[in-house]
């Protein structure tokens, strides 16, 4: 009976009256955040819709399977798509071994009390933020001309793009390695495994989903890069598919860039269509990355 009587006391008497200002502040903060987010979303939506209006009517199978042409009605992006695929191949081939090896060295072997290791670390973080056009200049001076003298080829373009994204691959690779709990390494070592066996057979396999995610995201960034490719002198009008690493090439962002700079409006429509193709490619790659991450997420 007494409990009944007590529980019927007014709430405010038991818990006190909440200050009205709190509620108002909470609400307005949420509204502010929502407004700021919607600014970003609206800009993005306008861009996408605008591109889609111009580009979607141009999309057709013949657009995907034709080479560039002086006549807008005949022009297509086959050589740009194959050029981009070749570049992706070169980039992947270069960044996976280099990125994983560097990440392993920095994470597992480098003694952080040595000044050179700290310098390497700081430099890699800085390199990740260097504008890509700087890598383009480097590629032009050292890969296209200079010591390597590869010329304006697929290989030169791919190596330059690989340099652009390598720092990001190393950084994400290190994070993936660091995410493997030390207890895994301890467990392996306690069984009499050597350091190398523990790393190669346990830590590296356990971190592969994270490394793969970083690699895929880096490749999708490389796909969208235009500036370094302009500098290393990729052609914008290539009426054939690359035949090998030493072949001249073009790529999707370059094709888009070249069409947009044409005075003819019909070419701008084609550029919009190519942008849609590029976006679809990027969304696909990111979807694979997200799927990888979710599928192999570890419950440590």
């Amino acid at each position: 009976m007494t409990t009944r009587a007590e529980s019927s006391r007014p709430v405010s008497e038991v818990l006190g009256v909440p200050p009205a200002a709190h509620k108002v502040r909470d609400r307005s903060f949420v509204l502010l955040l929502g407004a700021l987010t919607s600014v970003a979303l609206i800009v993005l939506a306008v861009l996408l819709i605008d591109t889609a209006i111009d580009g979607v009517p141009q999309l057709s199978l013949s657009f995907l399977t034709s080479f560039p042409s002086a006549f807008p009605a005949k022009a297509g992006i086959e050589s740009a798509i194959t050029g981009t695929l070749w570049l992706m191949g070169v980039v992947t081939f270069v960044i996976v071994p280099l990125g994983v090896a560097s990440a392993l060295y920095l994470e597992e072997f480098a003694d952080n009390s040595r000044w050179w290791n700290r310098i390497i670390e700081v430099n890699i973080q800085n390199l990740a933020a260097v504008p890509s056009i700087v890598y383009g200049i480097l590629g032009l001076a050292y890969i296209v001309r200079g010591p390597l003298s590869l010329g304006r080829t697929v290989l030169a373009g791919g190596l330059t793009l690989a340099l652009v994204v390598l720092p990001v691959v190393i950084i994400t690779g290190r994070e993936a390695l660091r995410a493997v709990p030390p207890s895994i390494k301890e467990g392996a070592l306690a069984l009499g495994a050597t350091r190398w066996q523990a790393i190669w057979r346990q830590i590296l396999p356990a971190s592969i989903p994270g490394i793969a995610t970083g690699v895929i995201l880096s490749i999708s960034r490389a796909i969208g890069e235009t500036a370094p490719l302009i500098l290393v002198g990729a052609a914008t009008f290539v009426a054939f598919n690359p035949t090998g690493l030493d072949s001249p090439f073009t790529a999707l962002p370059l094709q888009i860039f070249s069409w947009i700079s044409q005075p003819n409006d019909e070419f701008r429509m084609l550029a919009a269509a190519a942008i849609i193709v590029l976006l679809v490619l990027l969304v696909l790659l990111n979807a694979v990355a997200i799927r990888l991450r979710n599928r192999y997420q570890q419950r440590w």
Binding site: P181, L191, A193, R201, A206
Partner: protein
């Protein structure tokens, strides 16, 4: 009982600052019952200790320091063969640090420095020609938190034998290890399943099976049940009793009842409170047969600890 004079060993510790211990040969002027009293000496069952034939480990004045501050100082004891030896004591007393000297796991911490000697069947484990990988092949370890590899149950067991290059049928090695850890019947139908799908207790027994797969001579267990429920703990304790027929076991535990239930001999460690966090030093207080440590401890601090007055 404090400072049983016969136990005092004036020459035992030249490194220690004189202020922290009583004058040799005198009963220290410490009020009985003061928990963190300066430690006069280790109350050893010296007679019984010497009677340990073929000890697996002999430590002499073993000290470990991290950076400049010592973590545990002057531990001298003998670990018997094919028995269970328990290390008990409050947290920070260095019991885990000492057990990690037995398979050189302290090597992984760059700042850790080990002084004194640890002999394993007479061989100085910290000798110049010792390869720590070889040491760990003979001396297995089970950790506080179950740490299965993110792989199948089968691959978890097979990893050790593979890196050691063991000959024979891997299926048989895996089955035998799982049987020894009395896990075979639970998992024989799902050997290809990921080990993370097992319960915590099963994961820990998998880790024990993994350690047994390489036929170690010694099994070190660092608080193996602290993350487990009482039923899983019971199963692991039963397992330990079976295993000691073939393996020498050293177990670190902060659970006194566990030490009393499973061990043949018990070493009690204490943490000496210094002026600051860094100055905390772990020491061995008393070592002897478990039954005596729990029923008739020689040192007042052991008595207080095992009777639940502190810790």
């Amino acid at each position: 009982m404090v400072g049983d004079v016969s136990d005092l060993d004036p020459a035992s510790d030249p490194r220690e600052e004189p202020a922290s211990r009583g004058v040799p040969g005198q009963v220290p002027a410490v009020p009985a019952g003061q928990v963190h009293a300066p430690i006069p000496a280790v109350a050893h069952d010296d007679v019984i200790d010497d009677a340990i034939e073929n000890p697996v480990f002999i430590t002499e004045k073993l000290s470990v320091s991290y950076g400049t501050s010592p973590a545990v100082l002057d531990v001298s004891l003998r670990v018997p063969e094919k028995q269970i030896t328990a290390f008990i004591g409050p947290s920070g007393c260095g019991k885990s640090t000492i057990i990690r000297c037995f398979n050189r796991m302290n090597d992984l911490i760059p700042a850790a420095r080990v002084e004194g000697t640890v002999r394993y069947h007479g061989v100085d484990l910290y000798g110049n020609e010792i390869d720590s990988v070889q040491v760990r092949k003979r001396i297995g370890m089970v950790f506080q938190k179950p740490n299965p590899f993110p792989k199948s149950i089968y691959d978890n067991i097979a990893f050790g034998p593979k890196v050691l290059g063991m000959k024979g049928s891997m299926d048989q090695i895996v089955e035998q290890a799982l049987r020894r850890a009395s896990l075979w019947d639970d998992v024989k139908d799902r050997l290809k399943d990921n080990a993370f799908g097992m319960s915590g207790g099963q994961q820990q027994r998998l880790c024990i099976a993994r350690a047994l797969a390489t036929n170690p001579d010694v099994l070190l267990m660092d608080e193996p049940c602290s993350a487990l429920d009482p039923i899983s703990t019971g199963r692991i304790e039963d397992l330990m009793h079976e295993l000691k027929e073939t393996v020498s076991i050293v177990i670190v535990t902060h659970n006194m009842q566990q030490a009393a239930r499973v061990s043949d001999r018990t070493a009690f460690f204490i943490v000496d409170m210094g002026s600051s966090e860094e100055a905390r030093i772990g020491r061995l207080v008393e070592y002897g047969p478990t039954s005596r440590i729990f029923t008739n401890p020689h040192d007042i601090r052991t008595e207080e600890y095992v009777s639940g007055k502190f810790g």
